[in-house]
Amino acid sequence: MIQTTLEPILREHPFFQGMEEQHIRLIAGCSKNVRFAAGEVIFREGDPADHFYLIREGLVSVQFVIPHDGLTTVQTVGGGEVLGWSWLFPPYRWHFDARAQQATHALAFDGKCLRAKCDEDHDLGYDIYKRFMQVVTERLEATRLQLLDMYGTHA
């Protein structure tokens, strides 16, 4: 049987768990299935951030270039997680590079489409922003721990 809608996949993804049905239907219209081969660049720092991704399977590296150290991975995002929030806030540009570490299946969401729907339906907007705030908070906490260099010799 050919699946014609992404709604069941959205419902099953941890990021959208518990979301109201009408909101699932709304955001499904802004989404599509995508695949990235291992090593493929998903987006680059400075490029327009007009999408975000829900990773279904695989692993994506978030990277940037450190002078003298070269390309450095600061985070990986795997199945069940969300990649990218620069589409939410001006100037809508990526702050890092993202590259598929392994063959990766994801759902890509059109940021412009979703922002327009959030503006039209504030209940949807509130729900989406709450979900992203949760992710941002968790990433900030994790980044603070990384900055502590807790496995260093003082640990």
């Binding site: 985070q75 721990l145 807790m150």
Partner: protein
């Protein structure tokens, strides 16, 4: 004196004839594990010297003329009397210890302290969360779990290090992963683009690790701040506090609760720990004054 010896016997797996008397052990091998960590493999000078220990216990290692330091036993409890201790070069004694060569002799007192509750994990999922050199005190528990694999449900090891080069026991981890009955997830704080694994703190792996929180026993060892955040994530996931065990580290000196150097709130880490059930230290975990 008598009550103290009785207490020591209650928490150790093997006999301690005189807990203050170092027993000579000869170094069989010094293995460099990472840039600043190494493993000493030692055997008793007297082959008839019995030694048993439980996973999580530690020994006092004495470099003659320099000093003594507490180091967790990191070898297989089923393969005594060979003992392995992995440590980092951080001070005068460990620096001198790193200079020791095969064939030289050092003193050992122990084993001391409480141990990981491996038997309590029977019939449950087991989640082991290690950070940095914290994998060393957990390795004996892994050996024991793997030796009795059928008694446990899923076994998940989540291991975080600073960089891929700082990973301990890399070959052993690869071998265990190849057996397919142990889920191993490694993450590093940062890595060059050539690293093909996870990057991020180990606490972020708990939310998506494959275990049933209602029937899980967790064992944690690593920097205290890592363990605090790991505890939060485990509790958030639904693991009961009484099913979480962690290994604390303080300045152990005598090993038997005499000197008080390792006092941790109302407990002594050398005698009541180093392995504690979370509820027994939850109130003082992370307090800067303690």
């Amino acid at each position: 004196m008598a009550p103290m010896l009785e207490q020591t016997e209650a928490v150790t797996a093997g006999p301690v004839p005189d807990p203050m008397l170092p027993v000579p052990y000869r170094i069989q091998r010094v293995k460099q594990e990472t840039g600043d960590t190494f493993t000493l493999e030692i055997l008793p000078e007297d082959p008839s010297q019995g030694f048993t220990f439980a996973p999580g216990q530690f020994n006092m290692l004495y470099v003659f003329g320099v000093g003594e330091v507490p180091i967790s036993i990191s070898s297989d409890p089923g393969n005594v009397p060979l003992l392995k201790h992995t440590t980092r070069v951080v001070g005068t004694v460990t620096k001198a210890m790193r200079q020791l060569k095969r064939g030289e002799v050092m003193g050992i007192r122990g084993p001391f302290g409480s141990h990981w509750p491996v038997e309590e994990a029977t019939g449950r999922d087991v989640v082991i969360v290690a950070g940095g050199i914290g994998l060393a005190p957990l390795r004996p528990a892994l050996y024991r779990l793997m030796a009795e694999r059928s008694k446990f449900r899923r076994i998940v090891l989540l291991y975080g290090t600073r960089t891929p080069e700082d990973m301990l026991y890399r070959h052993e981890l690869e071998r265990w992963r190849g057996k397919f009955d142990l889920e191993i997830q490694v993450t590093v704080d940062r890595a060059a683009s050539t690293w093909r694994g996870n990057v991020g703190v180990v606490t972020t792996m708990i939310g998506r690790a494959p275990f049933d929180p209602s029937n899980t026993l967790a064992m944690l060892c690593g920097p205290e701040i890592m363990m605090r955040f790991t505890v939060m994530e485990l509790l958030k996931r639904g693991v009961a506090a009484e099913c979480v065990y962690l290994s604390a580290e303080r300045n152990m000196k005598c090993g038997i609760g005499f000197c008080g150097h390792c006092q941790y709130g109302p407990t002594f880490v050398c005698k009541d720990g180093p392995v504690f059930a979370l509820p027994s230290i939850a109130a003082i975990l992370g307090k800067s004054e303690i």
